[in-house]
């Protein structure tokens, strides 16, 4: 049996086949009926192609899947300068319901709830699809930089015995009759793995039982995590963050068609990202507080842009009071920490820092917060066994992409978002 009488070509390959009979397959993106002639716009994974059809014809509705056999004909008016003429059309799968909105409109003509309720179809809109293609490229860039720096990928448990890391906002679960919790981050595991591979990263889901219904909080998101040993302090982590961000932006930059579709402007990544200490930021803001308010982050971002021409700014030395117990204090100024946030276009994108590495420091830090050591037994064993000075960082993928493409709600850059109200599709 001959499976493929003729090899399928993709829409983007059409210009290489002018004058040939070709076979295209894809979705009917649009049926455009003019007076004497009609156009079928076919969408496949590479883009769009125009097919000329003349009445009478019997074409199924938009989003139906077809195979098109015809002549690739030069036409300067057609997308890519080529269209298919004299087609025979085979219906592979008929759409039995029309899309919830026109997928061929340049902007998405629907409200957020409509988009999300109909995600399997909505995501086919080229603008929504483009954001997710950029996300995939960003993750590839993240991995590529870290691989080149000798990092090893890990896959860690998403179900844990104790709700240790923050206590609040954890999902609880029935584990063969025992209580268990969804992991809020791979933090403890990646630190454990520093003892094994020195340098590790993970790209995976994390879970927050986030009771706030905002445009930037989700109950599940994709966390890009890295952790590595033999650092001097958090400045070494910040150097790595800079390289990772540059690699992600560069990978995203190779998808220029998607960027154009979204009118997304990529930031330049300075060779050295400017930084300001938390205490200096407070002085500049004329405030005295232990955290930055959103308005403070925006003001600092504007300042960095004006002073350094940078859309990125590190804020270092956050107060220990606002950082997790495993954070390394700042030598000589122990109310501050060897930690940082990376602000990007006015919002926090990455959190990271140096961690404690001495066993006794962990015991002391837990005691100081009035926490028992027992729920941390496995984690503490790591430090009892010897761990170098180390640090790391975490970045929320969906938030990164939202910032990059200017999406005003993180749900637009999340595949099938999960939140307080939404568990489907």
């Amino acid at each position: 049996m001959v499976h493929h009488p003729q090899r399928r070509i993709l829409a983007a390959e059409l210009p290489d086949h002018v004058g040939e009979t070709v076979r295209l397959s894809g979705w009917i993106h649009r049926i455009r009926e003019l007076k004497s002639v009609s156009f079928l716009i076919i969408r496949d994974r590479s883009g769009l192609a125009q097919v000329v059809i003349t009445p009478p014809y019997d074409i199924p509705g938009e989003e139906s899947v077809v195979g098109v056999h015809g002549l690739a004909t030069a036409n300067l008016q057609a997308p890519g300068g080529v269209e298919i003429t004299g087609p025979t059309i085979e219906v592979l799968s008929e759409a039995v319901e029309p899309p919830p909105f026109d997928l061929y409109r340049p902007t998405v003509p629907a409200t957020l709830p409509t988009i999300l309720d109909h995600a399997p179809t909505s995501l086919r809109h080229p603008r929504l699809k483009a954001g997710h293609a950029l996300a995939a490229a960003a993750v590839a860039g993240f991995r590529q930089v870290l691989q080149a720096h000798g990092f090893t990928e890990i896959h860690t448990p998403k179900v844990v015995e104790s709700a240790t890391e923050s206590g609040a906002n954890v999902f609880s679960l029935d584990w063969f009759g025992r209580p268990a919790y969804l992991a809020q981050s791979p933090q403890f595991f990646k630190q454990m793995m520093v003892g094994v591979f020195e340098r590790v990263y993970e790209t995976g889901p994390v879970f927050r039982a986030e009771p706030h219904d905002t445009a930037r909080h989700l109950a599940q998101y994709t966390s890009l995590d890295a952790e590595f040993g033999f650092i001097h302090d958090h400045q070494d982590v910040m150097v790595m963050v800079r390289d990772v961000i540059a690699g992600m932006i560069s990978a995203v930059g190779r998808r220029s068609a998607d960027l154009d579709l979204l009118d997304a402007r990529l930031p330049a990544v300075p060779a050295e990202i400017p930084q300001i200490h938390f205490a200096d930021a407070m002085a500049w803001l004329g405030k005295d507080d232990v955290d930055l308010a959103p308005a403070d982050e925006r003001a600092l971002s504007r300042w960095a842009e004006e002073k350094y021409g940078s859309e990125f700014l590190f804020v270092t030395g956050y107060p220990m009071a606002k950082r997790p117990f495993y954070t390394h204090p700042e030598p000589g100024r122990p109310e501050h920490s060897n930690s940082f946030d990376l602000l990007f276009r006015g919002l926090e994108l990455i959190t990271g820092g140096q961690r404690l590495h001495h066993y006794q420091d962990y015991r002391d830090a837990l005691a100081a917060r009035g926490e028992p050591t027992e729920p941390y037994a496995g984690y503490l064993a790591t430090f009892a066994a010897g761990i170098p000075p180390h640090g790391g960082f975490a970045l929320g993928l969906e938030r990164f992409v939202a910032r990059l493409v200017g999406a005003d709600n993180i749900r637009l850059t999340t595949l099938f978002p999960r939140d307080l109200h939404r568990l489907a599709p």
Copy 2:
């Protein structure tokens, strides 16, 4: 402040620095005391290095983390032909507890429960570590092949509204007061995403509330999933599986030191993996059943090895009765399916096949199994919107590595395994 008075080199780079004063950092893998001289074996992410120390010395216990400054000296007896002499040793972090077993023994001198209870330390044993390094390479190989074939990476929800996919073995969870379930696979989502990207893959955790306490079942594992459209039938999926496996084996093959450490023998991947139809397999086995018993899989594997010299064998055409409702039946023989398992060294490694693609076929398939359509609403919307003939496959990462390195328990190739009894570390 000068952070790094001298750049750190890795153990593996030592041979390039003979005659130079160098700085190494790592764990004290072993302290070997001879009569007049002692050796410190330092372990870093690249391997081992020997340091010569002479009494009197004050060296912390094994697994402590040190910086070593000394002269790289040629010595044919030393690992790599170079050792460090005249060292000064700086203790970066002291191990306050000895390892649960000697990490420097060639084989792991501990039982499985001891290994797992002390995972943060046990995993530092070069043999255990090697398996996880191979796993990372295998995943990189998986992604690389699929990227080259035009696949897009996706990240899908791990919490779902309905326990639809199999009903049994699902973990339930409290989602802001509503019941929800951990996803057993990304199956539905990857099919939905065929409508968006045509070709998608995901590497992420899946969850099975697996009540069986066996050497090859886990409650969480890493599933490598792919799905793609515009196939003729499952044979196209099998061609892709062959390429993916070849890429994974090739990526793993580049880590020869890890393979040697584990005495792992890589299989050859035939240009075309042999296949046998389920009905023919039954005839050959002299049986009449709807599934293969483990002994049957072993017998068929031996047969393929003898007849074709292949450690891989596809079994195609499994009875529809044993496949999920979305499975595409075999044309002309509807009690069989366009599905397959890939056997590797006597065990099932991959399951895949062609899926239904017509909306009405889904409705009929659910009705035939007496299932309501309502819990499947989001999934069914995908097919109502038009989906091409498509198929895909899934592979359990930890099982693949276990098979490759001959581990007799999947827990040995899983980072921090989760099962009926184990939720920590």
